[in-house]
Symmetry: C2
Subunit: 357 residues, 2 copies
């Protein structure tokens, strides 16, 4: 296993310590239990935006800690959820008195630990909204979740809600905004290569030299099909059409009612993208993809979206939600409204996303 | 060859077109001959900072076009120098009447085309300063250059000189600054894997599963030695010591005298780093290295530098000067002074480097 690591057991901690050293004015690390938090936490009177999940998706989530985005992030080991203890410790640290928005990717273990965190917070008089992200068009059933998995839209939700928290949105308004970002976002990914989880030391799957995994999940889960590699334009169009042709997606999710201290069922519908819709187009590297290849894909994505009558008003191209060193790319299309655009354009200063996106 | 490309022949153009689509307010592309330039070029009365070289090092250089950094960048094909025609066209486009600073990596073909560009500019009454970057401690002789190659310090010089150009530095002051950044910067790189140039379609070298190339050049040139992979801390310390123990490096380079229209010899000396020196520590991904691995390396680099009595006052960790999808990392240490720090901290808005570095 060729990696710049000391031991798989110390990898997450050492990388977070390095990140905190590189951004001393923005980020701090709590080592036991481990989480990253804003250097100025807690921010009095503002809702704190918190996220977390398995490591290996960097800069998601710890790299998004900083002004204008997350107040704290709780990383598990690579592709392993964090513990409830981490979530509780992070909530304690960043609670500024106005409540906590937990942004949670649809994955059983993540949902479980954030649920326990919200319930604990209730006993302490801290209101928590746990909003689920379930945007992956390709991965709708797996051993680890029910319904679609959370992927690229997570990054956009954290940026937009982080900006809203800076502008003193209250918890109800933030929860509604985060839910709206989620139902308006859709993602689809492909992998050219597998990745290697440090604790396992072997690639997550095998794939031949001329094949790709079309519709790959955030950890390299099999998606729609394995197919021969295609020209970038052909592949980008196929990926875009998976999102553009996705019909209405209806599901029931559980949300925490922080006033009653109870779980309630919420009906969600993601409406299909329609001509005239304003969108943010996001092309993401899975970790090891050269930047110019992302731009080649973005170029075609824009063409396909415009041919469908969509207006590409904002965009993001780069390495934001990864599967370790996997070579691959995902597309996320987010239907925008005025409020989201204003918040998207707001300043952000974190290790992984910076003003000038 | 697994890549998100259409054809090797169209890869550079299509990726630049995609980049310009992603940053419409900042960057434009001229297709024939191909170069990237600031959307607001020419900037009247300011020196224009121009760079260029083979593609494959993205975001270097085209990704650094924008406010606070480059006015234009001329990309060749992957690992192939641009043409004189590209340099001339870019100079014409961005000339704002105060002259041009060309930042040139030490590589015969790059030096040649920028030299012809400066000579052409002289005939048009446009003063050009061509400043060489030759900072790679590991690669001091190759088939492609005499003396050390230019690598990580190029990024820092483009950032610092770009900020100075925004502040109305005149050409003489900018040339002196760029030369000062160069002689105060030193770099050293290692590769875990080779990379694949699209037009060739095969990896640049072969290396076994437990070996690394220690002291690798910007294109994967063999460096100091091939060795067994080591723990990140051991490797980071070895890399740091290559830079920290490097003695004074003296060389004679040719610079263009834009007043006389002649080439003159200049003596340069890079003094070794000494206890008490203030430095910027830069850990760079060669393209395919996961971000957390860079932070693990950065963590140890800082420790080694501080143990030697250096003061790490600024830092940069990320993907800035690459060899396509190579997994590997380079360290650059730059001795800072007050002026460099002020310019480093100035705003920058480009695709590849943004305010909040």
């Amino acid at each position: 296993m060729k990696k710049f690591i000391n031991t798989p057991q110390t990898y997450v901690r050492e990388s977070l310590e390095g990140m905190a050293l590189a951004y001393p004015e923005r980020v701090r690390i709590n080592v036991d239990p481990i989480f990253a938090y804003r250097a100025d936490a807690p921010v009095e009177g503002k809702v704190a935006v918190v996220s977390g999940g398995g490591s290996g998706h960097e800069p998601t989530h710890a790299g998004f800690v900083g002004v204008g985005m997350l107040h704290a992030a709780c990383p598990g080991d690579v592709f392993v959820s964090p513990t409830t203890e981490q979530i509780i410790a992070a909530i304690k640290k960043v609670n500024g008195g106005a409540g906590i928005l937990n942004v949670v990717k649809c994955y059983w273990d993540d949902m479980e630990v954030f649920a326990r965190g919200a319930e604990w917070a209730f006993t302490q008089g801290i209101p928590c909204a746990n909003i689920l992200i379930d945007d992956d068009v390709a991965v709708s059933q797996s051993a680890y979740s029910h319904g679609r998995r959370g992927t690229g839209t997570t990054v956009l939700a954290e940026k937009i809600c982080g900006a809203a928290a800076e502008r003193w949105y209250d918890l109800q308004k933030l929860a509604d905004l985060c839910r709206r970002v989620n139902v308006n976002g859709r993602s689809f990914g492909v992998a050219l290569t597998p990745c290697t989880v440090p604790l396992k030391g072997v690639p997550t799957f095998e794939i031949s030299e001329d094949e790709i995994e079309f519709g790959v999940g955030i950890h390299g889960e099999p998606g729609r099909e394995r197919m021969k590699i295609k020209d970038a334009d052909v592949l980008a169009e196929k990926m875009a059409l998976e999102i553009l042709n996705d019909p209405a997606y209806r599901r029931t999710v559980q949300e925490w009612d922080w006033k009653k201290g109870a779980w309630v069922d919420i009906e969600l519908t993601s409406e299909p993208l329609r001509p005239g819709d304003r969108i943010l187009a996001f092309v993401n590297s899975m970790g090891g993809t050269p930047i110019p290849e992302l731009y080649v894909m973005y170029r075609k994505l824009v063409e396909v979206c415009e041919a469908k009558g969509l207006k590409v008003e904002r965009r993001l191209v780069g390495t934001y939600i990864t599967a370790v060193e996997m070579r691959g790319a995902s597309f996320t299309l987010l239907r925008l409204d005025d409020e989201m655009v204003t918040l998207w354009d707001a300043p952000v200063r974190t290790p992984g996303m910076r003003w000038g996106i």
